[in-house]
């Protein structure tokens, strides 16, 4: 039961290299707009596609989509591609609490924040999906991006990102009971699964720390603002003119620094934190794909067992000399031989696809992390540069106290 491994692998890798990363398509999700009132209200987002790919009729176009449309797209893609080994990027999570606030019309900062968080997540979701060469060819994806009218997605409850995750986890649990039975002939899969398990753990830990940073940065911003006000008051009551002025200026500096902290917290979250949470969910999808392979193997294995039983039955019938039963047995044997062959082909195919997918995923992951982390570090650079400006302006004021 060993799949032809080495030969195909090098061929795949060569193919990978040749393809390169020429995906000239860019997706933007923007302009969230509330449609309707009360509990039936929803947010509509503008999805803009810019591309030079010939498969699209125009080079730039946009449509309006709502959240459930995205979920519907994902469920269609997942149902078509997950079980044959493609890593389908998961859709953003549903949030009842967040969305209710928006529906009920609370125009406060937390609901604006929620909408922005969702918008950014939807954009990243689409960007990842179109980067996938196979998914890009999918007609459902094209329809989602292009057609002005989209049939309402039903049953998105069951197939939301969280829903898929739950399914995958259930499957994983079931499969874990079977793992002992699978005769893993290919160490690559075992190795990779372990690696993804480790990566998952590490990313979760890092994500928790970054979330703490976001929280503390916001706290720092609030405390800085409070101090700024207090320093201004102190400056007002100070009866030495020059010192009073310097204290007022200190208050101004701290106010500006508060702004900086807010912007930095924004970057902390949208660049660093969200990157990590996206990848935590992506890795869940990867794990799901590995589990599908196991299920596929199980199916093949079951088919072989059934074939064996059918052959035994045939032998029994021959001994018992029942011609009609023998014929039936022979039919069934043919049927199951085909199934066994199909099972083997499916298993080889999914294994091949997963290897390719994992290779592509790893490349993407490396690129993604490098790009985003560099961008994040650049935001830190900006903050420091601003800090220098502010304190350089304040220093002469402090020295002027006489």
């Amino acid at each position: 039961m060993s799949a032809p491994v080495i030969f195909d692998r090098s061929r795949e890798e060569i193919e990978e290299e040749a393809n390169g990363d020429v995906f000239d398509i860019e997706i933007g999700v923007s302009d969230p707009e509330k449609v309707g009132d009360g509990m039936n209200a929803y947010m509509a987002y503008r999805v803009t596609t810019k591309t030079s790919l010939s498969m699209f009729s125009k080079s730039e176009f946009s449509v309006k989509r709502r959240f459930s449309d995205f979920l519907g797209l994902h469920s269609k893609l997942a149902s078509k591609y997950l079980h044959v080994g493609y890593i389908v990027p998961p859709a953003p999570e549903k949030s009842i609490v967040g969305m209710t606030k928006v529906k009920v019309g609370k125009e406060d900062s937390s609901s604006t924040e929620f909408v922005e968080k969702r918008r950014a997540a939807l954009e990243r979701y689409l960007q990842r999906t179109v980067k996938h060469p196979t998914l890009l060819q999918d007609p459902d994806l094209r329809q989602f991006l292009e057609s002005s009218e989209l049939p309402r997605a039903v049953n998105t409850q069951a197939l939301s990102g969280a829903g898929i995750l739950r399914m995958v986890n259930k499957a994983a649990d079931a499969v874990n009971k079977m793992t002992i039975k699978m005769n893993e002939s290919d160490a690559w899969f075992e190795e990779k699964q372990q690696q993804f398990e480790n990566l998952d753990q590490q990313l979760r830990k890092l994500h928790a720390s970054v979330e703490a940073l976001v929280c503390h940065r916001k706290e720092l911003s609030a405390n800085t603002a409070a101090f700024a006000k207090s320093a201004a008051m102190l400056g007002n009551s100070e009866d030495h003119t020059a010192l009073s002025r310097a204290l007022s200026q200190l208050a101004e500096v701290e106010e500006k620094i508060d702004q900086l902290h807010q912007e930095q917290a924004f970057a902390d979250f949208y660049m660093f934190s969200e990157l990590l949470s996206d990848y935590i969910r992506l890795i869940a999808a990867v794990k799901g794909v590995f589990d599908h392979r196991m299920k596929c193997w199980q199916k093949w294995e079951d088919a072989q067992i059934t074939l064996l039983k059918k052959r035994e039955t045939e032998a029994k019938m021959m001994v018992a000399n029942k011609p009609d039963k023998i014929q039936q047995a022979k039919n069934e044997i043919r049927e199951w031989e085909a199934k066994v062959q199909q099972g083997e082909r499916d298993f080889e195919q999914i294994s091949k696809t997963i290897r390719k997918e994992v290779g592509r995923f790893e490349k993407e992951r490396v690129k993604d992390f490098k790009t985003v982390i560099i961008k994040y570090l650049e935001s830190l650079v900006q903050t420091q540069q601003q800090l220098i400006k502010y304190w350089e302006a304040f220093l002469p004021e402090a020295k002027a106290i006489a």
């Binding site: 009866d239 310097a246 650079v381």
Partner: protein, 418 residues
């Protein structure tokens, strides 16, 4: 933990705090932060040359250099604990002769409870984190403990220096005993009853303060000072609290950098792709930048929070002075009334006259010295704020530039590799 306070800072003490010799100089400046304009002359020089932290108390070595004839030797040291400083402070407050002076505020009680608790928690949680993390956190907490320790030493030293610099207080007998007597002063911590008495005393004082401050002062200078001090004290209190909170948030964020650095390191050592080097470099960056952020928080604490806290206490001492003056004014006015009554009845007139004269003298003496004290207070305050704000800005700049360079260097490496 042992620490040397004062301008002579041993390099050994800086170990584990941070790397880079340029951080040393701030400690020198930091400890003398509040000590502005305090002329230390040859006649009397006091400092805390050593300190030892034991389980529940701190032992300060008070070192004196003096050319005054009052002392048996020119240079000597004694060991004192916090309660003895409080005893000295209280003896000043209770001394009627010093009613006209701003009594230097008592140093706050050394408080290591929070730090000790954290160290204990860390010890308990040792099993749940990696060795690197544990070592990192331990170093951090030890540095924190050391910082608190150095601060308490500085506070106690500032108190002594203020006394030594004051033309009248430096001659006080109790002060000399405090400096010279090399046995325990047996000033046990106040027992419950005494503490309760103190509490009531303070309550009465503040109630009194309310009544007395209602009386408008004839003297413009004092009227202005009273209005000013009342408002200033409240605002300094608020600013001090807010500054504290801000500094603490800063520290929390720096701690997060620590954990992020550790996680990135773990990722870097476990990853199978070529992103390992990337993660390791970013992890290194977070470790380094965290040290700088921790310093920013510590310097803000020193230059801003501590400054405000100190002037909170000093402005209270100034308010106390005003209160004492107002009390003596009330006494004077009452003595005047008593004299008028005595003259009207022609009974005990001489007694009333003497009493009135005494009250008058006392009031005038207090007013005269109080005026000078309050002017000095303003001068000291302005100088201290100037020094600390300038140093704060300089340090913030230094750290921001340090951070910037770290980040830019790291980005150059990362972009070069990609």
């Amino acid at each position: 933990v042992r620490a040397c306070a004062g301008p002579r800072l041993g390099a050994a003490m800086m170990e584990g705090l941070d790397d880079g010799p340029d951080f040393l100089s701030e400690e020198d400046r930091g400890l003398k932060a509040i000590n502005v304009d305090l002329q230390s002359d040859a006649a009397l020089q006091v400092d805390i040359s050593d300190a030892l932290s034991e389980r529940d108390k701190v032992k300060f070595t008070v070192h004196t250099k003096s050319s005054l004839p009052n002392f048996k030797q020119n240079e000597f040291s004694v060991v004192r604990q916090h309660e003895e400083f409080i005893w000295l402070h209280d003896s000043f407050v209770e001394n009627e002769d010093y009613a006209g002076y701003i009594i230097p505020p008592a140093p706050p009680r050394p408080d290591f409870d929070a730090s000790r608790e954290k160290l204990q928690k860390l010890g308990e949680g040792e099993g749940s984190m990696t060795k690197e993390e544990f070592t990192k956190m331990k170093q951090e907490l030890e540095a924190e403990y050391l910082a608190i320790f150095k601060k308490t030493v500085a506070m106690h030293e500032v108190f002594l220096c203020r006394v030594a610099a004051h033309p009248i207080l430096r001659k006080d007998l109790n002060f000399h005993v405090f400096l010279e007597y090399n046995q325990d002063l047996s000033v046990r911590g106040k027992n419950k009853k005494e503490k309760l008495e103190d509490f009531f005393k303070n309550m009465v004082k503040s109630a009194d303060g309310v009544i007395v401050s209602g009386v408008k002062d004839v003297d413009d200078f004092f009227e202005h000072e009273r209005t000013f001090l009342l408002e200033y004290h409240n605002r300094v209190k608020d600013a001090s609290a807010k500054s504290d909170r801000m500094t603490r948030s800063h520290k929390s964020a720096a701690d997060d950098y620590n954990r992020i650095g550790s996680s990135l390191y773990a990722l870097g050592t476990q990853d199978s792709t070529d992103i390992c080097k990337f993660f390791l470099k970013v992890s290194e960056l977070f470790d380094k930048t965290r040290k700088i952020e921790a310093r920013v928080s510590a310097d803000e604490d020193l230059k801003l929070s501590d400054l405000l806290k100190y002037y909170l206490r000093e402005s209270q001492a100034a308010k106390d002075l005003l209160y004492r003056r107002s009390r003596s004014l009330v006494d004077y006015e009452n003595a005047n009334k008593a004299l008028d009554k005595a003259r009207a009845k022609n009974k005990d007139v001489l007694q009333a006259e003497t009493s009135q004269q005494l009250c008058c003298q006392k009031f005038e003496k207090i007013s005269e010295s109080a005026k000078q004290e309050l002017i000095d207070f303003k001068t000291r305050r302005v100088a201290a704020f100037r020094k600390n704000l300038v140093e704060l800005a300089e340090l913030e700049l230094k750290h921001a530039k340090g951070n910037l360079q770290l980040l830019q260097n790291c980005l150059a490496v990362l972009n070069g590799d990609t």
